[in-house]
């Protein structure tokens, strides 16, 4: 039996909380950059267990939240093609483009379907060869190999009506951009499942260039508390380093097979992130040898200007500069039922997570 319950043990979590209180003798700010962590931190009430001197910040770790209006506009443009089906992960449906969302396009009769896996989109392509199927590829290093593997399967089976519009992104450029912008943090709570794929080598640069510790964390309360204790210890010893707390799922070398598949199918491109702007080599696009599967090559796509909803401060929230409750829209004009900004749309966005677990204050 896999010992899940133990990661919720009150006694073990209390021992960690006590240690953190004992060790924390200075103001510290730790940032997580993973939507799963944003949710887990709130769900388990981790901030309420910590001394006032430790502040947890949410960074740009929610793929839906950092995706541009341009991507939504292009997806809606594609949906208008004849015999076109757009397949998307659910969270993206309600993100606002310049003129509405994919959800709105769906209500207007466009064929837009929610899938749980790229393989579901490929299955639709197999079943309906007369249609064109475009998968909206969003997500970080965890999701990119699943899209890449789906493209490889499509090629192997000679499926010619399956395409990907990729907005896949890479985490390290965003983590470096946060520090380069001068946002004060004392350590990174590193994304567990991204690192399952990538391994830890990519964090060495952050430690060496910026002197900021990186601990790869799991998602249970014990995982998060142990990670925070490891970061506190690093700061106290003045020894920033890369450590893995989530060793049951993360090997130092990552998943080489998944990395090789990403490398085979994708190349890096400069990509726009909400709050951070264009970051060099932070996005993934299918290589020329896979351009038959690249929706941005096969179909002609207008380049739209990137627009942001008025008064929305999602960009600053994604950098840890502002909190959801600092926004004048939060809980009033912007709620999970009627979201304005992407951070309220996604179930793992800072605003929606805060709204769901901490309310409107």
């Amino acid at each position: 039996m896999y010992p899940f319950e133990q990661y919720h043990s009150k006694a073990l979590c209390q021992a960690l909380v006590d240690q953190i209180h004992l060790m924390a003798d200075r103001p510290l700010r730790f940032m997580e950059v993973c939507g799963g962590h944003t949710m887990a931190v709130r769900k388990y009430g981790i901030p309420s267990l910590l001394p006032d001197s430790i502040m947890l910040l949410s960074g740009p770790g929610c793929p839906v939240c950092v995706t541009s209006s341009l991507f939504i506009d292009q997806a809606i443009h594609l949906a208008a093609y004849d015999r076109m089906t757009i397949c998307t992960f659910g969270d993206l449906l309600r993100v606002q483009g310049t003129n509405g969302s994919l959800e709105k396009a769906k209500t207007e009769g466009k064929d837009i379907r929610v899938v749980l896996s790229g393989l579901d989109a490929l299955e639709i392509a197999r079943q309906q060869p007369e249609k064109k199927i475009v998968l909206l590829g969003i997500g970080f290093e965890t999701t990119a190999p699943t899209t890449a593997a789906t493209i490889l399967t499509a090629r192997k089976e000679k499926i010619s009506n399956f395409f990907v519009l990729s907005a896949h992104k890479l985490m390290p450029p965003a983590m470096e951009a946060i520090i380069s912008e001068g946002i004060p943090i004392n350590g990174y709570i590193c994304p567990g499942h991204v690192t399952t794929i990538t391994g830890i080598a990519m964090y060495k640069k952050i430690v060496e260039n910026f002197g900021i510790g990186c601990v790869v964390s799991g998602f249970e309360p014990l995982d998060l508390l142990q990670t925070i204790l490891m970061l506190v210890r690093q700061v106290k010893a003045n020894q920033p380093k890369v450590e893995i707390q989530y060793s049951r799922a993360v090997k130092p070398e990552g998943n080489p097979k998944a990395m090789a598949i990403i490398e085979e199918v994708f190349e890096t491109v400069d990509e726009w992130w909400r709050g951070l702007g264009i970051l060099k080599a932070s996005g993934l696009k299918p290589r020329d040898s896979f351009q038959d599967f690249d929706a941005s090559e096969v179909f002609s796509l207008p380049v739209y200007e990137i627009s942001e909803p008025e008064a929305c401060i999602c960009g600053d929230i994604l950098k840890g500069l502002k909190k959801p409750q600092d926004c004048m829209l939060y809980g009033k004009n912007c709620t999970p039922d009627n979201p304005v900004g992407a951070c309220m749309v996604s179930s793992e966005g800072s605003c929606q997570t805060h709204y769901n677990y901490a309310g409107i204050n």
Binding site: Y2, P3, F4, Q6, Y7, L12, A15, L16, D18, Q19, L22, C34, G35, G36, C62, P63, V64, F89, D91, L116, S117, G118, L119, D120, I138, G139, F140, T142, T143, P145, T146, A149, L152, T153, P191, G192, H193, V194, T196, I197, G218, L222, D223, Q226, Q245, S247, R248, A249, V250, K251, N255, K257, A258, I261, S346, E348
Partner: protein, 72 residues
């Protein structure tokens, strides 16, 4: 988005596995792993198994925390 759920492999056929998530059965692709076998716990993300959960490491993590001396 990077949410990955632990599942137990029931059986394997080629690159596809039948897995059980808390009793619910579903199919998952093993094309991102090279050495998974029935009985292994794997992390499922977006229909793919992305890693085998190392049970020894899971126990080691708990053991480290169990050895933290309680504060009187």
């Amino acid at each position: 988005m990077c949410l990955s759920i632990p599942a137990k492999i029931i059986s394997i056929e080629g690159e596809n596995a039948l897995v059980s998530i808390s009793g619910m059965r579903m199919n998952a692709s093993l094309s991102l792993l090279s050495n998974a076998k029935p009985g292994d716990f794997v992390l499922i993300h977006s229909g793919f198994a992305i890693e085998i959960i190392d049970r020894e490491e899971a126990e080691k993590t708990l053991e480290i925390v169990r050895h933290i001396r309680p504060i009187k």
